[in-house]
Point group: C2
Chain length 285, copies 2
């Protein structure tokens, strides 16, 4: 779909980038932004990420044909509750949350709202509209997580919107999404943070390029990740247990003095990593 | 020191980069390279990383005033044994190994050899002289690990050599080095590999920039890292236990439903990571 009036609720890195992207692609779309703090809205206006600014989400969604919830996941439900009565007839609602079970279940309480959950997998450890980019989503993956009986038109329209932003879309149930994302994103985030925390100052002074790469994501916003970890705790716990098992295999090979098995363990990981088609690394800090 | 005749034993990424760096800085230094395979030596000659090529390390060190051992750590001792009788009088010997206890202890068996252990902390997951760069060492740290009674002149000369390559040098005992490096490099490497290994194919298909950053180092050479893990097994094991403890703290906060503690845990890591002065990320793949 090509929205005529887009409402972006939360104008940080992701919300700001959606505004910039849409305004760079569509000439006839007005972007209304909601932000908690007026200063944030001013910066979003100054960057050209939004055309209109509101400190009340109900005003921000008025007349919008597409609403994208871009607040931290811990605030999605309360924002949803606020906007539900204010939505235009037929308006589509989606979100950018990194966890999907809770918001999809919550939306089900509002059968009149056309909601399709999304997780556009773009972003960085940077925060704020200052780091928003029109091409943040280009080429990245977007997971759509319809409930068990999605409205076909709504799903197709939300899909088309993310593809308009040049994303590759795929679908899966919210439960599957949360498990897979725990493994590929939440466990790595927890471990990156733990790798920083475990260092003493003198070890840290020896940090090189490798350590910088491994721990880059750990610089991300604490409050935002707290919400994600709290919501996806069960999957995070299970994923960390799996990581522990895999690491124990390496230690067992070492304990047995089985150098060949250690090498095979490392080479299997190296081959798998090399075969991964990945985007370029994040820009330097 | 500024060598007149430098011998580089092992002409891969590090050995090749030392050759290129020295030849870009000194006009009057001849670089003799040793390689196990003639094809590797041919490529090193073609890249201009060495001036002379030898398949026998004893020939490669003849007349050299500085010898740098650049083989995988598992081969350092046997190469040392071979070259010891062939060294020129007064020749200095150092190495680039990522573990230091074993080679420093081994060198002590040869009181006539002027050896100072080094660990230039540069490199990448790439291997081979094809990826060698004259500026690989520029601005990176180099740890020197003298034994308890180092020869002052030898230490000063090896220090001066790495500073000639624009490295920042520091000193510590081999035992301290191996523990610190286990924490800042070997544990992260093991964990990066485990993070790749734990994924199933469908999770892996969702890998984004963050996962690519976290696991980049896991693409490194399996045989080389096997040697490092085998030699530094005790410290690696202890470091992984520490990581496990730190991660358990996060899980305990989550189990208690203590969102504030989760946030504080994440923010402490984020602040620490942000304050880290780190080199630019590795080039894209």
């Amino acid at each position: 779909m090509q929205p005529k009036r887009l409402s972006v609720l939360g104008v940080g890195l992701l919300g700001g980038s959606i505004g910039l992207a849409v305004k760079s692609i569509l000439t006839d779309c007005t972007v209304a932004g909601y932000g908690h703090r007026p200063e944030t809205l001013d910066r979003a206006l100054a960057r050209g990420a939004i055309d209109e600014a509101y400190v009340d989400p109900r005003q921000a969604v008025q007349g919008a044909d597409l609403v994208v919830l871009c607040t931290p996941v811990g605030m999605l439900e309360s924002v949803f509750d606020q906007i539900a009565p204010a939505l235009a007839l037929g308006a589509l609602v989606t979100d950018v949350g990194s966890t999907k079970r809770r918001i999809v279940a919550h939306a089900r309480k509002y059968p009149g709202v056309r909601f399709i959950g999304s997780h556009p997998m773009a972003g960085s450890e940077k925060r704020g509209v200052e780091f928003a980019q029109a091409d943040l989503f280009t080429g990245a993956k977007c997971v759509l997580t319809p409930n068990e009986s999605p409205e076909a038109d709504a799903l197709a329209a939300v899909d088309a919107f993310w593809r308009l932003l040049k994303m590759e879309t795929c679908y899966m149930p919210p439960e599957v999404h949360d498990w897979m994302i725990a493994n590929i994103s939440h466990v790595p985030h927890a471990i990156a943070a733990a790798l920083v925390t475990m260092q003493d100052g003198s070890s840290l002074s020896l940090a090189g390029k490798g350590f910088a790469d491994v721990t880059r994501i750990a610089a991300g916003d604490g409050g935002l990740w707290r919400d994600i970890f709290v919501e996806n705790e069960d999957n995070l716990r299970l994923g960390l247990q799996r990581l522990q098992q895999v690491t124990q295999t390496l230690l067992d090979h070492l304990a047995r003095g089985d150098g060949e098995a250690v090498k095979a363990w490392l080479e299997a990981a190296a081959e798998r990593r090399q075969s991964l088609v990945t985007p370029s690394p994040s820009p330097g800090e």
